[in-house]
């Protein structure tokens, strides 16, 4: 195996190997397990950074072999893959640290961390997949490895949520498989390629190809939580906070959105999708999801459920950005992949901190939490403002870029959708912020725990601090060459050759 093939495989293997070792470790060896977890996460991040560097220099990393006759298993590190891979690797490290603190003294940690590593391996595979078949492979692996995380607590509620999750995701997977098999039968094994394949499509194929697109989006839309396929997501909130953070910021929802990006940009091609009249439909679904998700969020009393509906809404920004037929709009959608990940994971980390330190799960229990846990509340505040799209945070960069892109192609209604969504976001986040900082504590905390100097355990404290700093940096320094926005602009340049 040449070195250019070695890197993607190695990046995948770090978490796979970590998973196997962790499964083999007895439950009580928590120190060794923590060590392996962190070492694997750091190693993976290093490998990803090396690959990012290489891709920026124009190098290609690829590993392929024929798995089943007629179809290849391909791992390829291109610019788009690195965007998602970088996000995953970074956030895996932070979530691992967080999870170590969160699950302290709870049972079944070996099981948890084993599947956790498997989940991240699947995500890395999704990022690096070079064709739909490989993508599907890791997509289903992701489903399987996240189920034990969702049902981790073993309570009846958790098991019910797990069942809903599996029904949705496996059905989505079956639809996706149908679409992939059909496409294969029609046009053979197509690798992802910048600009897509269907620019000059034979007219006889247009009908089936359109049908296949609908099926693909349906299959991917389950994980990407497009309405009406979103039902599993709010229920999955019963999982421990590190799982919610990972599911909603990095792994599952982003995998669906990333799949849609690959399909629209690198399988079909933006122009072909538009010619077939599919972009408008997708844009409508995305816009509806944005408004619906935010509206539902208004009525949630549980903090994590509110954040869940917020996620449903925000992930559709990415899809909507794709439909803005142009480089600027596409950039806005793509960069939100990173920005939403960072901001949402901050919010979930903070929600987990409130739950672990104070026993608070409902919003009306948050009165006065700002005084007790100022740093966490500050991180939550900044994350919330990021979601609202207030400058100078990362969310503002997304909204501005998407708005500009929408106006440039004459889709002005998109600006109205963005504004309405921001207003709704403000409506459901600002009251929480008021409670945190300005409402006096009305009753004792449900279950308070003290940790000494810091307001909470240091494992739980630092990850949200890191992500919130990134939220600010990605916003303020968006023009710098290493910001997500610049990286995305590079990608879009290659993808959208208009």
């Amino acid at each position: 195996m040449t070195s250019s093939a070695l890197l993607p495989v190695a990046a995948l293997m770090t978490s796979l190997m970590a998973s196997v070792i962790i499964f083999a470790l007895p439950e009580k060896n928590y120190r060794l397990r923590t060590l392996i977890n962190l070492a694997a996460a750091i190693l993976k991040l290093t490998l990803v950074v090396v690959m990012v560097w290489g891709v920026m220099q124009g190098r290609e990393y690829e590993a392929a072999f024929t798995m089943v006759p007629g179809v290849e298993f391909v791992l390829r590190a291109d610019a788009l893959a690195m965007l998602f891979a970088g996000l995953s690797a970074l956030l895996w490290l932070l979530t691992t640290i967080y999870a170590v603190g969160y699950l302290e003294n709870s049972p079944n940690r070996s099981r948890f961390f084993g599947f956790f590593s498997l989940c991240v391996a699947s995500t890395m595979g999704i990022a690096l997949a070079g064709n739909l078949f490989t993508f599907f492979l890791f997509y289903e692996m992701l489903t399987l490895s996240t189920y034990p995380l969702v049902v981790h607590r073993g309570t009846p509620k958790a098991l019910r949520a797990g069942r809903t999750y599996i029904i949705y995701t496996l059905t989505g997977g079956a639809v996706l498989l149908l679409a992939i098999a059909w496409l294969h039968g029609l046009v053979g094994d197509l690798r992802f390629q910048e600009g897509g394949h269907f620019a000059d499509l034979a007219p006889s194929l247009e009908g089936p190809v359109t049908m296949i697109f609908v099926l693909l989006i349906t299959g991917l839309g389950v994980k990407a939580a497009l309405v009406p396929l979103h039902g599993w997501l709010p229920q999955a909130m019963v999982a421990p906070a590190p799982v919610s953070a990972l599911l909603h910021a990095v792994a599952v929802v982003k995998a669906g959105a990333f799949g849609i990006i690959r399909v629209v940009f690198e399988l079909y091609g933006l122009e072909a999708t538009s010619d077939l009249g599919l972009l408008m439909g997708l844009a409508a679904v995305a816009a509806f999801t944005i408004i619906y998700g935010s509206t539902r969020a208004l009525f949630q009393v549980d903090l994590k459920r509110r954040l869940a509906f917020s996620t449903i809404s925000q992930v559709s920004y990415i899809v909507l950005g794709l439909c803005l037929f142009g480089p600027v709009g596409a950039a806005g959608g793509l960069v939100h992949l990173v920005h939403q990940g960072i901001m949402k994971i901050t919010l979930f980390f903070c929600a987990g901190n409130y739950a672990e330190t104070l026993g608070v799960h409902c919003i009306d229990e948050l009165d006065g939490a700002g005084k007790r846990m100022p740093a966490t509340s500050m991180a939550f505040t900044l994350g919330a403002f990021g979601m609202i799209g207030a400058p100078p945070l990362a969310g503002f960069i997304t909204k501005w870029t998407m708005g500009t892109g929408a106006l440039a192609v004459g889709m002005d209604w998109v600006v109205a959708v963005l504004v309405a969504s921001s207003l709704l976001n403000a409506a459901y986040f600002l009251p929480i912020l008021h409670r945190l900082w300005f409402a006096p504590q009305s009753r004792p905390w449900p279950e308070e725990r003290r940790w000494g100097r810091l307001e909470t355990s240091s494992w739980l404290f630092w990850p949200p601090m890191v992500t919130v700093v990134l939220t600010v940096l990605f916003g303020v320094f968006a023009a710098l060459p290493f910001s997500p926005l610049s990286w995305v602009e590079l990608i879009v340049l290659r993808e959208v050759a208009l």
């Binding site: 799209g389 207030a390 400058p391 708005g403 500009t404 504004v419 207003l423 303020v476 320094f477 023009a479």
Partner: protein, 466 residues
């Protein structure tokens, strides 16, 4: 540690003040790594606004050092600093992203000042403030987005020209006017103002009314297509809104019981007068530049006067009668200045305004009414001043004041009365021998005050008889 928080309130704006006093218009700072490419600059207009902002925040900060109680001092300090940063930053921002960022920072952090006291009233005021502010922010965002996309540039300076030539100029202007208008207290968008300004701690009210309200005005002035195109219809509309604001605000203010509420409505009324000028500037492109100069003068005058008036509401009167008399005189002076008493800053501003707003210079329909409106505005202002003094006297108490309260209020009053004349003014303000001009126009300046005093005396009689 607490002492550090307390006394730094006074010191923090000083560097900005120093900078404002020393820097020359024409200063630029390029920040290519910021947002989409940042640019901070200062022209004549911004110079005046920065001066006012820095000065007012400094005196209010001094006042706050003495006024604020220990409870939630840290929290107050955080929001004070954030709002200050936002307010200062937006005055020097020359690119869209920076401007919007600082504006948003000021707006959202200002919430913390409004709800600081934690009473039900304060929370309700905060809710209204925030709701309207967020809607305003969204309108501003939409407007800026559309303008920036058309201009294909991230700099504020490129926006007016792009808006002037836009297909949907009406929409962009509507969005920007209403978005910034929420902050500026435009009628129908003003509902938060009389709720929020009174309920905030006094030094915060001073900066809310004195400086933050001007941010809305600045927003109009830097984005709308002044000088690029003449829009008589918009001019008419704004003049009407200005008249409604000026007179309606005064009318509502006269019904208020609380001195800070009276002052809040007075701010609405004064902003109405400024809106008249904005309307005139929109209607005739060539009148824009000189009007900017006068508006900047007005901004400084009103800000300082309103600031000291607000600060006086929290002062306790000295025990001796002579001391009380002196104090009332000093309290009344900025008020009289607002009304245009000769030899005050208000007089200078009004004279400058009168000179420019001559009907024959403009060719939009309502131009003829401008002098009438201005006079009516002056009468209304004086009535409000009397009302303010009345309710203030009703609620005043004697006692000691913390030294910093004396210092802060004293500085504010001195700034309004005397320092005003020493500050660097906008370069385009018509140069004149102010003293002689005021002597000449003394009657013009004085008769509205007289009318108002007479009306007030009549009203007092009627009330006393009942």
């Amino acid at each position: 540690m607490r002492a550090l928080y307390r006394y730094s309130l006074a010191l923090l704006p000083v560097p900005a003040l120093w900078f404002a006093l020393l820097a020359e218009p024409g200063w630029r700072l390029e920040l290519p790594w910021l947002f989409f490419g940042g640019l901070w600059a200062m022209d004549e207009l911004r110079h005046s606004v920065l001066l006012l902002t820095a000065l007012l925040w400094t005196v209010a900060g001094v006042f706050a050092a003495g006024y604020m109680k220990e409870r939630h001092l840290c929290r107050f300090w955080v929001f004070w600093v954030l709002t200050l940063t936002g307010n200062l930053g937006l005055t020097v921002s020359a690119d869209v992203a920076s401007f919007y960022s600082f504006f948003a920072l000021m707006t959202f952090a200002g919430y913390g000042l409004v709800v600081h006291e934690g009473t039900d009233e304060a929370n309700r005021a905060g809710r209204v403030y925030l709701a309207m502010a967020v809607v305003g922010e969204m309108a501003i965002l939409s407007g800026l987005l559309m303008a920036a996309q058309l201009a294909d540039s991230g700099l504020l300076a490129d926006l007016p020209a792009a808006i002037a030539d836009a297909d949907r100029r009406w929409l962009i202007m509507l969005l920007l006017l209403s978005g910034f208008g929420v902050k500026a207290g435009l009628p129908l968008l003003h509902f938060w103002l009389p709720l929020a300004h009174p309920v905030a701690p006094t030094p915060a009210s001073a900066v809310l009314s004195g400086a933050m309200i001007k941010a809305g005005l600045l927003g109009w002035l830097v984005t709308l297509p002044f000088g690029e195109v003449s829009l008589p219809d918009w001019g008419n509309g704004l003049v009407i809104l200005g008249a409604v604001g000026s007179l309606g605000g005064a009318a509502l203010g006269l019904c208020q019981q609380h001195p800070k509420a009276v002052l809040a409505y007075s701010s609405i009324s004064q902003m109405g007068l400024i809106t008249l000028m904005v309307g005139a500037a929109l209607a005739n492109a060539e009148a824009a530049a000189p009007l900017f100069a006068v508006m900047s003068l007005y901004v400084v005058h009103h800000g300082l006067a309103k600031g000291s008036l607000f600060l006086s509401t929290a002062m306790a009167l000295p025990a001796s009668r002579a001391g009380q008399r002196l104090m009332w005189l000093l309290i009344a002076l900025p008020g009289l200045s607002l009304a245009g008493l000769p030899f005050t800053s208000g007089a200078a501003s009004k004279l400058a305004m009168k000179e420019l707003l001559k009907p024959d210079r403009f060719d939009f329909a309502l131009a003829a009414y401008l002098p009438v409106l201005m006079s009516a505005g002056a009468v209304a202002t004086m009535l409000l001043v009397w009302r303010f003094l009345w309710v203030q006297r009703a609620g005043a108490s004697t006692g000691n004041n913390h030294p910093f309260l004396w210092l802060g209020w004293g500085l504010a009053t001195a700034a309004s009365v005397a320092l005003f004349w020493l500050l660097p003014w906008h370069a385009d303000v018509p140069q004149k021998a102010w003293l002689s001009a005021m002597v000449q126009d003394a009657w013009n300046l004085f008769w509205p005050i007289l009318v108002a005093t007479l009306l007030a005396a009549v009203a007092l009689r009627l009330v006393k008889q009942r």
